[in-house]
């Protein structure tokens, strides 16, 4: 990989680049799906290529190719420079990057058992046992469970002298049980919805999920939802489970603190942000209970690594400090625009895409309460589990989320299961009404594997540590 990157950097500088970096990436993905008792697919995917990023005549250029022959690498580097020079004819402002030390090193995800050393037969066997455990109820029309394993070997080199090698391993899995009646369809998922729960870890993580041990309960919950009462409507107390709290953090804190959105880089697509730079350090984002961090060292979150994709070291920074808005997710270029240095959030979806600002592990720090205590001290409200739908405006203020499951709470007790719950609000008022976050015992790391951003579109795997938390005076209603 080193030969390839040296050749790319040399060709870029010969063509006129004032800065260049490149990433050579080799990745392997295994994806296994069992649906309704049969192995629906076992997909094995290998991918290799190089992405070269340059600054020439004050503008950025990027080109990627899967042909790693010497002629192709040199042509790709020259093409990146051609692109940069074409852009510079439209541009007035030259790119400026905040300084960053040129680092050299090696990083590997900590795994107890390499998931690629576990046989495909054992993986299929686990899924078949999970499927079997969901199959005892006639109303369950679709049962689906899956596993995914990723190994990405990345080499980063820059014209400033950085040389970094990383091997990242991810393991994920999950299940969905869908129950149908004449007029209703209800799905329950475990450990998280939208396919799976994923972490930077080995096979030990899959064993800890205990998919077969939870399958029967999940199927029963899906069937129970078919005839559950509709969610009550009104303004009430809402308690989110840790998975839904993780998604709430993702959409209403993770995205609006991306500094490229704030600076308008995503205005035509992902959108902008209500957290403008004049608010930094003074704006009350949430209540005293709310502290949110960006931490690429908090294993096993999916945003855990040694260095980001422009060679900045993994680190922890505070985005919201006891309710006060204090920080952004940044890159070398965007940090320079507000007089800071990068906090290491540049990540690319493989070799063929340009690194852009992405979440790492965006964590809601644990509090001191517990789910049991929150329920016991709630007069009227709902406890909501597992995301089902999510939508938020382009400045990340007006949101509406739905969950798979709800429990109505009256006078400190869960009184009944309710279906089709949705809740909505405005980001700062919602987090401002947070009066309890559960303690570390109930804090868990979740993964989001489908975070879309950028043009061409990039999907990123990001982590969120979260715990059950409670909010007051929230608008709740059933999805009609």
């Amino acid at each position: 990989m080193r030969d390839l990157s040296e050749r790319a950097l040399d060709a870029a500088s010969a063509a006129g680049a004032s800065y260049a970096d490149c990433r050579v990436i080799n990745s392997t993905v295994q994806r296994l799906t069992v649906k309704n008792g049969v192995v629906a697919s076992v997909e094995l995917f290998e991918d290799e290529g190089i992405g070269i990023r340059v600054i020439a005549d004050g503008s950025w250029g990027f080109a990627g190719a899967d042909d790693l022959g010497p002629a192709s690498i040199e042509e790709t580097a020259r093409h990146a420079v051609t692109i940069a020079k074409a852009s510079s004819r439209v541009n007035r402002t030259p790119v400026r990057m905040a300084p960053a030390p040129a680092l050299v090193g090696e990083y590997r995800t900590l795994v107890v058992r390499d998931p690629f050393a576990v046989s495909l037969d054992d993986k299929v066997d686990l899924l078949m046992r999970t499927d079997e455990a969901m199959s005892h109820l006639a109303q369950i029309r679709v049962r689906e469970c899956s596993l995914e394993f990723v190994r990405e070997i990345r080499h980063f080199a820059s014209s400033e002298g950085a040389r970094l090698d990383q091997t990242i391993i991810e393991s994920g899995g999950g299940m969905d049980a869908t129950a149908t009646s004449d007029d209703e369809v209800q799905t329950r998922s475990f450990p998280n919805s939208f396919g799976r729960h994923q972490v930077c870890a080995g096979w030990e993580a899959i064993e800890a999920f205990d998919l077969p041990g939870n399958a029967g309960r999940i199927a029963e919950e899906a069937v129970a939802l078919l005839t559950a009462a509709q969610c009550p409507a009104g303004t009430m107390t809402v308690i989110l489970d840790a998975t839904q709290a993780a998604l709430q953090v993702h959409e209403s804190c993770g995205h609006p603190t991306e500094l490229d959105r704030v600076l308008g880089h995503e205005a035509a697509y992902a959108g902008t942000s209500f957290l403008t730079p004049d608010l930094l350090g003074t704006f009350r984002y949430g209540s005293e209970q709310v502290t949110i961090t960006a931490d690429s060292t908090s294993a096993p979150g999916l945003g855990t690594f040694g260095w980001d994709d422009e060679g900045v070291a993994a680190q922890r920074s505070v985005l919201v400090d006891r309710g006060l808005f204090t920080g952004y997710l940044s890159s070398r270029e965007t940090a320079a625009a507000i007089g800071q240095v990068s906090n290491g959030c540049m990540r690319a979806d493989g070799w063929s895409r340009l690194p852009i600002i992405r979440m790492t592990n965006i964590n809601l720090e644990p509090g001191t309460s517990s789910l049991e205590e929150m329920i016991a001290t709630t007069e009227h409200g709902v406890y909501l589990e597992t995301n089902r739908s999510w939508s938020i405006d382009d400045r990340r203020l007006n949101f509406q989320f739905g969950t798979q499951n709800g429990w109505e709470i009256v006078d400190g007790k869960r009184v009944r299961l309710v279906r089709n719950p949705i809740y909505s609000g405005q980001t700062p008022e919602f987090w401002g009404s947070c009066d309890a976050v559960a303690a570390p015992a109930e804090w868990q790391m979740f993964g989001v594997v489908n975070c879309g951003k950028g043009q061409p579109s990039q999907l990123m795997h990001v982590g969120h540590g979260a715990a059950p938390c409670r909010f007051q005076n929230v608008r709740v209603e059933p999805a009609r």
Binding site: T33, K35, V38, A40, S41, V42, E43, L44, F45, E46, D47, E48, G49, S59, W60, G61, F62, A63, G64, A65, D66, L68, A80, T82, I83, A84, A86, S87, R89, N91, T93, L120, R141, V142, T178, T180, E184, V185, G264, H265, E266, A267, A268, Y269, G271, S352, R353, I356, S389, S391, D393, D394, N398, Q400, G402, S424, Q455, P456, A479, R480
Partner: protein, 441 residues
């Protein structure tokens, strides 16, 4: 770059060494480039090229899949090896057979334009400058992206199927932002020379200038005019969740064949022969994509099939397969709503009080069976009073059943426009005048 024959020959070579069983080999070469702009400057401009090989092996009643992206000479060999590893551990009952070839079928029409395939970064930068200059002249900022892509796909199978096609796509989207509001416009075509860039620039600047200083309006039910950008989001959601035979077989589709669920002004088709919706002759199994009328004057008429769902229902595939095997089912990727007879500006004239919606944003399913979706309006929401647009209003969240909205259609415009949905398939949509649309916050 129209190397279909080379890729077919590579596929033939790979099949020649197949020792036993059956195989499908799909090889595609892609070159795509994209120039992105923000604040009237190009901030990201990128290019990528790659070869993707996908092998499906069927033997002993088991199917395996291996995929490799990488240009080295052993990519096909590695894909075959991975497919065999995969095949070995799958179960027997999951097999869907390879489709039989239909001799004499043409690999036309396919949307291809040499100008798109030959575009260079400098050419894209010049087109972007038309928009940034127009915005700059009005003291506002333009944002957006111009992309071009060329893909050659070849499919060969041991059942004798052998097809290839090269297609192009050019796509330009833009948002313009002033001090207190923005506008949106897009144009898409197989041919970059056919993109009306000055027209887009004028539209996005005009919408932006009219959408300054929006004031709040209360939620509730409103009569609406939806622009084609917004209608596309609704049609795409019907395509994902409703127009698929698998969704019907799994009882999660709203489609009840033969029942009238929408206004008789509504006819929705999928027709992969339509040049402007990126015509393409076959699906991911190599089956010719047939035109299907999905909604016929308000009546649920038909859904689309791939080989497994067609076998289940005892019919033939309509040629709407995604790569097999998969759990998502078939998907219509060339959807169009029939045009009506009213010029869209006249539709505004017939509304005494309502909203004009330029586009939706972040549209998500709330209840797929009832086609309830939620989302926000974005970049151009206007109040209509006594037949004219009077002022911009702040963006609203809607939560609305698509089928109910399409049951309440009062007029369909004569004009249509192509828009890419979130899934990046082209959808050809008219303006719609809808009697009632529900805004929730």
């Amino acid at each position: 770059m129209r190397g279909g024959d080379d890729l077919l020959a590579m596929g033939d070579g790979a099949l020649a060494s197949l020792a036993r069983g059956e195989a499908e080999v799909v090889i595609s070469d892609t070159r795509s480039e994209l120039t992105r702009f923000a604040g009237n400057e190009i901030h990201q401009s990128v290019a990528e090229r790659f070869r993707h090989v996908r092998v499906r092996l069927i033997d002993g009643g088991r199917t395996g899949v291996g995929e490799v992206r990488g240009h080295d000479g052993r990519a096909i060999e590695r894909a075959f090896a991975a497919a065999e590893d995969s095949r070995r551990v799958t179960t027997e009952s999951a097999v869907s057979p390879l489709p039989a070839p239909s001799p004499g079928e043409s690999d036309e029409p396919v949307a291809f334009a040499e100008a798109t395939a030959a575009t260079m970064p400098q050419g894209r930068a010049e087109l972007v400058a038309i928009i940034t200059d127009a915005a700059g002249a009005h003291g506002i900022n333009a944002y957006g992206a111009l992309s071009t892509s060329t893909t050659t796909t070849a499919i060969v199978t041991s059942a004798g199927l052998r097809r290839s096609a090269t297609s192009t796509q050019a796509s330009l989207v833009s948002v313009a932002r002033g001090d207190d509001g923005g506008g949106y416009a897009s144009r898409h075509s197989p041919d970059i020379d056919a993109l009306d860039v000055p027209g887009l620039a004028a539209e996005v600047v005009d919408t932006c200038e009219r959408n300054q200083g929006a004031t709040a309006i209360g939620p509730g039910d409103y009569e609406v005019i939806l622009s084609p950008y917004a209608v596309t989001d609704m049609l795409e959601h019907l395509a994902w969740g409703g127009f698929s035979a698998l969704a019907v077989q799994e009882h999660r589709s709203f489609m009840r064949i033969g029942e009238k669920l929408m206004s008789d002004r509504i006819t929705i088709r999928d027709d992969a022969r339509t040049h402007e919706i990126f015509a393409f002759p076959f699906d991911d199994e190599g089956v010719s994509t047939r035109p299907v009328t999905l909604i016929d004057r308000g009546v649920c008429s038909a859904v689309v099939y791939d080989t497994p769902t067609a076998l289940h229902d005892g019919v033939t595939s309509t040629g709407h397969s995604l790569p097999q095997p998969n759990t998502w089912g078939p998907l219509p990727r060339h959807v169009a709503m029939d045009a009506g007879s009213t010029p869209w500006q006249e539709m505004v004239g017939s509304v005494s009080r309502g909203l004009y919606i330029t586009r939706f944003w972040y549209v998500r399913d709330v209840h797929p069976l009832r086609t309830v979706i939620t989302g926000m309006t974005r970049e151009g929401t206007f109040l209509i009073e006594n037949g004219s647009i009077t002022r911009p209003v702040r963006d609203l969240r809607f939560t609305q059943s698509i089928v109910e909205a399409l049951a309440n259609v009062i007029q369909v415009s004569r004009e249509r426009r192509l828009e890419l949905g979130e899934g990046e398939s082209g959808v050809l949509s008219p303006w719609l005048h809808i009697g009632r649309f529900s805004f929730t916050s």
